[in-house]
Amino acid sequence: MIEQLFPNVDWEKMWEATLETLYMTAVATLFTFLIGLVLGILLFLTGPKGIYQNRISNLITAAFVNIFRSIPFIILIILLIPLTKFLLGSIRGPNAALPALIIGSAPFYGRMVQIALAEIDKGVIEAARSMGATTWTIIRKVLLPESMPALISGITVTAIALVGYTAMAGIIGAGGLGNLAYLDGFQRSRTDVTIVATILILIIVFAIQWIGDILVKRTDKR
C-alpha cells in the first residue's frame, strides 16, 4: 500500500535525511539557546534601567543583534561560506550548516530573552538586591528561573524556525529533509518524495511544539 502511494521514496535515504535534520536542529538549538541567553542578558543588564547601565556595550550588542537578525537566512548562508570553510574545512554535510543556523537564530533568540527578562517584576529584582545578592546570583536565581516559561516558549519558536532553516541550508549541500525534498523530489519531479519529506518535517515541528508546551506548563507556577 505504502509502496503504491509513494513509489519513488527510498526509505533508507529518507530516514537518514530525517536524522540529519534532527541533528542540525538539535545542535543549532542548543547553541542558539546558550548564545541567545548571553546576548539577551547583556542587552537586559546594560539597557536603560538595567543593573549595569552601559550605553556603549548596549549599543554594540544591539547593533550585532539587529544586523544578524535582519539578513535573510538564505543570504547569510552564502555570506558565511568562507567562515564555514575556515571552521570546518568543508561546506558539505550537516555540520556545515551549523554556523549559519546558529548565527542566524541566536540574535533572534537574544531579543526574545531580553523581552522575557523585561517582563520580570522589577520588585523581585529589587528584593534580591535588598538581600545583598550579587548580580551573578540575581542572574542565576532570579532572572533565569523567573523568566523560564518565556525562555522555553521562545526557544520552542526558535527551534521550529530552525527546522525551516535546515531545509534552506540544503542548498549548500547540508543534507536533511529539505535537501532531499529539493533534489530528489522537486528537481526529479518525484512529488511523493516531497510529500513524505514535508510530512516528516511537520511531525518534527509538532513534536517540538508539544515538548515545549509541556515544559512551559511544568515550569510555570504563577
Binding site: R129, G132, K141
Partner: protein, 341 residues
C-alpha cells in the same frame, strides 16, 4: 541606631531636577517602631531606600548601626544589607520558588550551608504561622500569607533593622491588623528596630512608637505617636489624624448635630492616656449650673496609650459656660470650641 543627617536626594529628569528628599534629619532608636507617613510622592519611598543603599543620597549621610550606608558599596554594602532587610507592598516573592525556598533565598545569598538552612527555614515558618504551607507556591497563597512569607524571608539572616515599604497597603483591613500584630510581636520578641512607611494613619496609630510626617520631601512634623495624635501641628498632620478620629460618617454626623443644637456652645474635648479614665465630666456637671449634653464620643488605642474625643453641647448662662470651658482647660483637657458657620 539609625541616623540621617541632612539627607537630600535629587533625581535628574530630562529637562529639570526633582528633589525627592530635602535635607531630612532623623534619628531612630534601637528597638523602636518608627513610622514615616506621607501621601504618595512625598519622598518617603525614596527615603526608606536610602537606609539599605538601594538609593544613594545626593547629599548628607545615612548611618545604620555604625555602618555608613551612604558611602559603602560593593561587597561591604551587600554584607550590610543582610542586616537591614526589607518587606514590600507587593511582597516581591519569587513565584518560581515554594514558600520554604523563598525563605531560604536570603540564606543562600548569605552562604549558609544547606544543612543549616533547613532548620532555620522551619523555625521562621513557625514564627510567622505558616506551618503546613512550606511547599505551596506564592500563587496559591492569600495576600496576608504572602506578606508572612515576606516577613519570614526578611528575618532569615537575623537583621538588626526591618524596613517596611507600605507593607500592608495591598491588604484588606482585617489582614492588615493581623500583619501589624505580627510586626509588633516580632519587634518585642527580637528587639528588632522597625522603620515603616505608609499613607495610612491607622498603621501608625496601631503599632508605631514615634512618627515623622513627610510632605514634599521634608519632614514637617515628628514626635511620639500619642503626642502627634493629641496635638497635631501641621495641617497635613491634622488631615492624617482625622483619617482615624473623624471618618467621613462622623464629620457628617457633627454637621447634623450642629444644625440640631442651635443653642449653646459646642466643644470638643480631647483625652489622652490615663486622663481618659478620669471623671472630669462628672465634676463638670456637678460644679457648674449648666446643661451638658454628650453628642458624640469615641476612643482610640495607640501603641503609647489611649486617646479619645467627646463632643459636648453646653447650654445655659453664658458666663457659666465660659467658666466651665475654663475649668476644662485647667484640668488639662484639650478643649476646642467648634465654630458654627
Amino acid at each position: 541606631m539609625i541616623k540621617l543627617e541632612q539627607i537630600t536626594k535629587q533625581f535628574r529628569l530630562s529637562n529639570r531636577s526633582l528633589t525627592a528628599v530635602d535635607a531630612v534629619d532623623l534619628e531612630i532608636r534601637e528597638g523602636e517602631i518608627f513610622g514615616i507617613i506621607g501621601y504618595s510622592g512625598a519622598g518617603k519611598s525614596t527615603l526608606i531606600r536610602m537606609l539599605n543603599g538601594l538609593e544613594k543620597p545626593t547629599g548628607g549621610r545615612v548611618t545604620v548601626n555604625g555602618m555608613e550606608m551612604s558611602s559603602i558599596s560593593g561587597a561591604d554594602l551587600r554584607k550590610a544589607r543582610q542586616k537591614v532587610s526589607m518587606i514590600f507592598q507587593h511582597f516581591n516573592l519569587l513565584w518560581s520558588r515554594t514558600v520554604a525556598e523563598n525563605i531560604a533565598f536570603p540564606l543562600e545569598i548569605a552562604g549558609v550551608k544547606k544543612a543549616d538552612r533547613e532548620p532555620r527555614v522551619r523555625e521562621l515558618i513557625r514564627l510567622v504561622g505558616l506551618e503546613g504551607r512550606e511547599d505551596a507556591y506564592p500563587s496559591e497563597l492569600s495576600g496576608g500569607q504572602k506578606q508572612r512569607v515576606g516577613i519570614a524571608r526578611a528575618l532569615a539572616n537575623e537583621p538588626d533593622v526591618l524596613l517596611c515599604d507600605e507593607a500592608t497597603s495591598a491588604l484588606d483591613p482585617e489582614t492588615t491588623d493581623s500583619i501589624l500584630d505580627l510586626l509588633t510581636d516580632i519587634n518585642k520578641r527580637l528587639n528588632l528596630t522597625i522603620v515603616l512607611i505608609t499613607h495610612e494613619m491607622h498603621v501608625i496609630r496601631k503599632i508605631c512608637h514615634r512618627v515623622a510626617v513627610m510632605e514634599a520631601g521634608r519632614v514637617v512634623e515628628m514626635g511620639d505617636v500619642l503626642q502627634v495624635f493629641r496635638s497635631p501641628q501641621q495641617p497635613i498632620t491634622k488631615r492624617f489624624v482625622s483619617q482615624v478620629t473623624e471618618t467621613h460618617d462622623i464629620k457628617q454626623a457633627i454637621g447634623q448635630l450642629v444644625r440640631e443644637n442651635p443653642d449653646g456652645t459646642l466643644i470638643r474635648l480631647g483625652f489622652v492616656g490615663e486622663r481618659t479614665g478620669e471623671p472630669v465630666l462628672a465634676r463638670l456637671i456637678r460644679t457648674f449650673d449648666i446643661d451638658v449634653n454628650i453628642l458624640q464620643a469615641n476612643v482610640s488605642q495607640t501603641h503609647g496609650g489611649t486617646f479619645g474625643s467627646i463632643i459636648l453641647n453646653l447650654a445655659g448662662d453664658e458666663a457659666a459656660v465660659a467658666k466651665a470651658v475654663e475649668f476644662l482647660h485647667s484640668e488639662g483637657v484639650e478643649t476646642e470650641v467648634i465654630e458654627r458657620d
